[in-house]
């Protein structure tokens, strides 16, 4: 009996030991552990995908995250971020930074904070050449694939309320459904659309972009020091020309976008 009571007192005492408070900045925690956990996409070439041979993530965002880690003097560990898991991963603390083609949206700011934009793209539909769909208005009543959690689906419904959404977990499955003729179009960010169309000549783009998607990196809310560190690292990467290098490596051309830079 006495032993039981003693064990319980010990347990309570242990729990009361002050631990790393959640109110501390992630910057300190990351620098202490010398490791930054980054959520990237695994299904979104050229931004984030899995290398065929090494099985490791690679892409524009992966390189960008590695550069940021170098700026901060830590190592980046990558974890998969699906469109629907991006925000929970940050909110629940599973990752420190999200670099996963996440559009900076006002309603998303309720849950997380965004760094400065690092790319701007838009959304568009992709279809097979044999469907003959050339405009979004022709998608009425048709099945359109998108990814659960991304805003490609809801944005399509805004311009074409009569489309039927089929929501997959990942972009690769949406594309597969298109190729297997289960759906007539896929809606996604143009970065990916261009990649798909280049890779498979039987696909074609549908009309013009109907949204503007500025990509921002996601960080935990109310953590200014961490957010500032990432922003400043991004600006350093821009200044030194490394951003342009990475862009040329993955997109084959110089960036048309400029990071909203500000001086020291």
């Amino acid at each position: 009996m006495r032993r039981l009571a003693l064990a319980l007192v010990a347990l309570v005492a242990l729990a009361a030991v002050p631990e790393a408070r959640a109110a501390d900045s992630l910057l300190d925690k990351v620098q202490q552990k010398k490791e930054m956990i980054v959520g990237v996409k695994y299904d979104f070439p050229p931004m984030g995908s899995i290398n065929k041979d090494s099985g490791k993530p690679e892409g524009f965002e992966v390189d960008l995250a590695n550069e940021i880690a170098k700026e901060l003097g830590v190592k980046a560990t990558f974890v998969q971020a699906l469109s629907k898991t991006r925000i929970p991963l940050i909110v629940n603390g599973n990752v420190d930074l999200i670099v996963a083609t996440m559009t900076h949206k006002r309603d998303r700011e309720q849950a997380i904070d965004f760094t400065m934009h690092y790319m701007i793209t838009g959304q568009r539909a992709v279809t097979r050449k044999d469907t003959g769909i050339t405009h979004v208005s022709q998608l009425a009543g048709k099945q359109v694939a998108s990814v659960q959690g991304g805003n490609a689906g809801p944005n399509l419904l805004k311009v074409q309320p009569k489309a039927i959404l089929v929501q997959f977990q990942e972009q690769t499955e949406a594309l597969l459904a298109l190729k297997q003729k289960k759906v007539d179009a896929v809606v996604s960010d143009d970065v990916l659309n261009q990649f798909w169309v280049k890779q498979d000549p039987s696909l074609m783009l549908v009309g013009k972009l109907y949204t503007i998607e500025p990509y921002g990196m996601g960080v935990r809310q109310n953590d200014s020091r961490w957010r500032n560190a990432i922003n400043q690292a991004l600006m350093e990467i821009w200044d030194s020309g490394r951003y342009a290098e990475i862009h040329v490596k993955w997109f084959g051309q110089k960036p048309e976008f400029e990071i909203p830079w500000y001086p020291k």
Partner: protein
């Protein structure tokens, strides 16, 4: 759609598949140990004659058994930081989720195994002067384990199959490797038939072992489809 079969996709990506398979085996091995530790603890509690151990353990086990495994994997991954203050990596979240979920089913197996030993044996054991530890160690456990063996093997097969659930949180185990290759190459038939064949070979051999061990009277049945 050039060639229908596209079997060449498999050897081309053999390294990738192998990496995924290795990860599946790792998850399986670690989760197996944890699962049966959990199962023994809760199974013994459920078998106990003390109601204040039995009912709470029963409640926990029944709640866990009533939840889908996929839900558990997602729970453990996303709610690890808020609940225990430490963000589990996808690998460990999957392992813990499997440990808890399959452990609850294993607890039932352990309980049935402990009950399968005839009460008379306990009485006989005590009457020969053995203490509680002696009776448990020399009489109950050996018989219980022999009776439980096929059910243990069946549970292990189920655990192996459930490792595929880890793919929803981004663990690149065997099934995930398959879906990635599938998405890249559009060779669904070849890839999924290959996945099915490999899983079949592994699970079938394990279950043959269980069948072999089960050819005895007094063995308990465990053939639940989770």
């Amino acid at each position: 759609m050039d060639t229908f079969w596209k079997w060449s996709v498999i050897p081309e990506n053999a390294g990738f598949f192998l990496g995924g398979f290795r990860l599946t085996l790792t998850i399986f091995a670690i989760a197996w140990i944890g699962c049966w530790a959990f199962a023994v603890l809760f199974g013994a509690m459920r078998h106990s004659s003390r109601p204040w151990l039995r009912y709470p353990a029963a409640a926990v086990v029944e709640v866990i058994r009533g939840t889908p495994g996929l839900m558990f994997v997602v729970w453990v991954y996303f709610l690890s930081q808020p609940l225990i203050g430490y963000a589990l990596s996808p690998f460990w979240a999957a392992v813990w989720a499997l440990v808890i979920h399959q452990g609850a089913y294993g607890a039932e197996v352990v309980r049935a195994g402990l009950s399968s030993v005839d009460r008379g044996q306990l009485a006989a054991g005590y009457s020969t002067g053995l203490g509680y530890v002696g009776v448990m160690g020399w009489i109950v456990l050996p018989q219980a384990l022999r009776n439980m063996a096929p059910a243990i093997v069946n549970r292990s097969v189920a655990l192996f199959k459930n490792t595929s659930l880890a793919f929803v949180i981004g663990v690149i185990e065997f099934f995930r490797a398959g879906t990635i290759v599938n998405g890249r190459e559009n060779a669904s038939f070849a890839v999924f038939t290959f996945l099915a064949a490999v899983y079949f070979v592994c699970c079938f051999s394990l279950s043959r072992l269980g069948h072999h061990l089960g050819q005895r009277p007094g063995v308990i049945e465990d053939t639940t489809a989770v």
